[in-house]
Symmetry: C2
Subunit: 224 residues, 2 copies
Amino acid sequence: MHVNILLFEGLTQLDMTGPYEVLANAPGFTVDFVSKSLDPVRCDRGLKFLPTQTLASATQCDLLVVPGGPGTDDAIVDADWVAFTRQQGLAAQYLFGICTGSLLLGAAGLLRGKRASSHWRARELLSRFGAIPTDERLCVDGNTYTAGGVTSGIDMGLKVVAALCGDDVAKLIQLQIEYDPKPPFPGGTPATSEPAIVERYLAMSQARFDRRAALVDRAAATMP
Amino acid sequence: MHVNILLFEGLTQLDMTGPYEVLANAPGFTVDFVSKSLDPVRCDRGLKFLPTQTLASATQCDLLVVPGGPGTDDAIVDADWVAFTRQQGLAAQYLFGICTGSLLLGAAGLLRGKRASSHWRARELLSRFGAIPTDERLCVDGNTYTAGGVTSGIDMGLKVVAALCGDDVAKLIQLQIEYDPKPPFPGGTPATSEPAIVERYLAMSQARFDRRAALVDRAAATMP
């Protein structure tokens, strides 16, 4: 099972590093990190990663993994990223979008008529790509796995491994990464966080949402 | 608040990338990734990261973050890593060990008489450094935060941010990273995973445990 993880500037690194830890622990999985060049790629918070393949050199994967983050907003209007995602996505056995990574799957025309999830703040935008947005943390529609924001990629990574390798392999990895989470606070979704926290977050993220929505409209207009 | 995250070959990247996502979202936090040189550092599963400082160039941090992984076993018997960890750790306001990262804090003589946690498979070894092992996922003793295996670093990152910036900042970050975890299986600790899974994991990890225990003994013999 060969995995290509897309690595574009400005990605939210935990979208990718969470599920990577799970997938890379599965027996028989090989992973490439694909970018426009082999230059280091900077995540939205500064940490830099080294890609292993370019858009030109990458081989066809069995599982395509698309992380999200501010960088996804630019990737959805970038013809190279959209074309690569479409080409790989059409031939891959499985698609896996985490957080706003599902917007790039959408922009590549891969979510038409499918149920899909995304970061809670961006989910509604999926409909502009012909997808059916759900507020599930873990949404599975056929061969397409889409997770909610950031940390949901870990939960979904385990679900993907369970589907591909069996439950026991996923359970072993869960024990290896000691994944019996104990968040110090209740919350983490608009339904479970305190209303005052949700209101602050909505206000803080409004400008980014507006920019993202405009880019989604541009991407939807040229969706293949 | 300046954070130094130790980046040694063979670290388990999610030990570090999980809490990094939380800490880097906290207002006023700056983060350096410190390694022996500025060459890329390879994690145990292959992904390569770029450090931002060397042991020689790093400034004193307020918060020292030590991830774990197979690479920690070598770092605890490496005089340069031990000396750097001790020097930074003695002057830092806060220490934060994730997974087997607490073994390096121990090897640097920073856990004597303190309660501390680690990956469940390695916890007992902490006593050889004069620490008091606990089976808590999140262990706080004074200024020293030690978390259990891998993913517990996310939970503990939120606890660290709450202590340093207040609960509301941590709750906002929890909502940003949509951390309302829903593992697809119960489990993730020896107490919650199915006994057959725990037995398989114990058998699989015996050789690594034996190697680690021998290295811990070597490190304990020269603990500063």
